[in-house]
Symmetry: C2
Subunit: 182 residues, 2 copies
DNA sequence: TGGATATACTCACTCAGTGAGTATATCCAA
DNA sequence: TTGGATATACTCACTGAGTGAGTATATCCA
């Protein structure tokens, strides 16, 4: 799928919930609200929009449930190719932008925590490494921007500051999982 | 204009360049690339898209220049209402999200630096205050999220960390303007 | 018994953003 | 001198994120 999906697509959260078990669009949206409302703000209709194109792409199938007199009601299931796509996303490091870490990486941890704590710790390590490498690149780029390009320098320097604070958060993220012990 | 323009609309940078003086869409895009490529990444066609709806909204007017045999070529001018909208945006604090500060606030400083250094310092103060107030709100909200909502807490705590580092950057931003003295 | 709330989904829309394409003018190097 | 790169200037058709209002039925409970 050499599809140029925009960085930070909401498709994977949706797929993630269906990865756990099949459900209705309605429930899916409720789960989103309950578990990740500080991370994603996806309206109900937007949830249905996403499901629509996932169906079109064959990542999700809908089976109609006919319950006497009630209309529609589709039970949504992640297809095999849907599962593959989701797993690929889950295991690959999130692009190194502050926002992507806050939204996508936390979402990956959310789904990974359903699988194993060890996986979480692994994802955290990998993400921290990716961030360190990316930061190196940004420092190098900063050196190529002439002194008088004040606002380009501002943009890049602020970006670097943000990423530094994101990195240190990621490095300590394992604390969330051992917290219960305290 | 109770228009619900999405937070972080690219319309104001475009208006900002036309605020300085009228030019072609082509030049406008070149200026963007030259001065703010670390801040905004707006493609040429996207620049024209923006100009299109600004024209439709009466914020920009286009006067056709007929130069013997060459086609099209529109000189774009900011209208009075365009100027008013731009100034309103320039003087009002940017919404307190990390990305908005990195993109919109730096853009505001860019245009403000064309007007006066005193204005820059004023905008920086105001923005820092707005950020402090916003952070208070986030801390309060964090206290309302139960301990077991791990991922919602993660999202909010990371957001707070990012905003803290953004705030300290803003507080020191005046350094960019006195730099030449060193 | 009727009004609030929960379940479940649709539609029409705007706005951000991309990629490829069109057309002419100018410069400069073999 | 000519033809190929580069600069000028703009258009079009598209995808994808996101919103707001609307539809329809079922259930609860006061």
């Amino acid at each position: 799928m050499t599809k140029a999906t925009s960085e930070l697509s909401p498709r994977y959260v949706v797929m993630g919930f269906l990865y756990i078990y099949p459900m209705h669009g309605y429930d899916l949206h409720k789960h989103l609200e309950a578990n990740l409302h500080e991370v994603w703000r996806i309206s109900q209709s937007q949830t249905y929009n996403i499901l629509k194109y996932l169906k079109k792409e064959g990542l999700v199938t809908a089976t109609l449930q006919q319950i006497e007199k009630r209309p529609d009601r589709e039970l949504l299931t992640l297809t095999d190719s849907g599962k593959i796509e989701f797993e690929a996303w889950l295991f690959a490091p999130t692009p190194s932008s502050s926002r992507a870490i806050r939204v996508e990486f936390i979402t990956r941890l959310f789904f990974a925590s359903n699988l194993s704590e060890h996986l979480c710790s692994h994802l955290i390590q990998e993400q921290a490494n990716a961030l360190r490498i990316h930061l190196e690149g940004l420092y190098a780029r900063l050196n190529t921007i002439p002194r008088d390009q004040i606002f380009n320098r501002m943009g890049l320097e602020l970006r670097i500051e943000q990423l530094k604070s994101v990195l240190s958060w990621v490095e300590n993220a394992m604390e969330y999982f051992v917290e219960g012990i305290t």
